[in-house]
Symmetry: C2
Subunit: 139 residues, 2 copies
């Protein structure tokens, strides 16, 4: 994993929340959704195919784990989620990353995808603290 660093573009809209075996985990600064971003710490990776077979298995395992974490984040704020949205897009920031977003039927954008829609209200200090703590301690 030598030479890997998160693209600076992620620092504007998200905060570091944890480091799992493969991925650096960031919490998106968007009060509308519990939303994690997984960044595999593999230098130069842009597509899933750029990972080794072993790391592909780790990525999907950590994607499932992030989904469980996002559910817990929804529960913690009394807004249990209805559906997980998982996506590796990278059209704007190419560095390989996977979005794991908790959606609700009353989230205002349902059933549309969320990327590039609306203006994200920032997390309150309390919400960021609760969610970051939850991600950091998630087992």
């Amino acid at each position: 994993m030598t030479g890997w660093a998160a693209d600076p573009a992620f620092k504007g809209g998200s905060v570091a929340a944890a480091d799992w075996p493969l991925c650096h985990v960031r919490l998106q600064d968007d009060a509308r959704f519990p939303w994690l971003i997984l960044l595999p710490r593999v230098a130069g990776a842009v597509e899933i195919e750029d990972l080794s077979t072993l790391d592909r298995g780790r990525l999907i395992a950590e994607t499932v784990r992030a989904g469980q974490c996002v559910r817990a984040m929804g529960q913690a704020t009394e807004r249990p989620i209805d559906k997980l949205n998982v996506a590796a897009l990278g059209n704007v920031t190419a560095q390989l990353h996977v979005h794991v977003v908790g959606r609700r039927r009353d989230d205002g954008l349902w059933p549309d995808p969320i990327w590039g829609r609306g203006v994200a209200p920032r997390l309150t200090t309390d919400q960021a603290r609760v969610w970051c703590g939850l991600v950091a301690g998630f087992r």
Copy 2:
């Protein structure tokens, strides 16, 4: 895999293209993008977490394979793709499925996600034949 059948909602906008070890593979009827949909043949699955660990590994392997296939589809029509977009959303049709879409910087929607945007021009008979043949024969 007893009891699995594709949700009838997929039949309106896509055609059956292949059956891989885990997934039924459909070609989206949209001339703008080479676009495959992977449907794991696991009855009742809605989220990736609903798959066994073994099937999660097969899903990511087949997602990578679909990406390579989408690249080949782009090459076959002399529109090589710039970026793969991979997503498991399911807000409209809940049955677990993974979109694998080939994007180009000149595709008209770049860098936005494609779901729910614009009106899809249907594949011509020739394009559908070439792409379906390519998926069916992809090794």
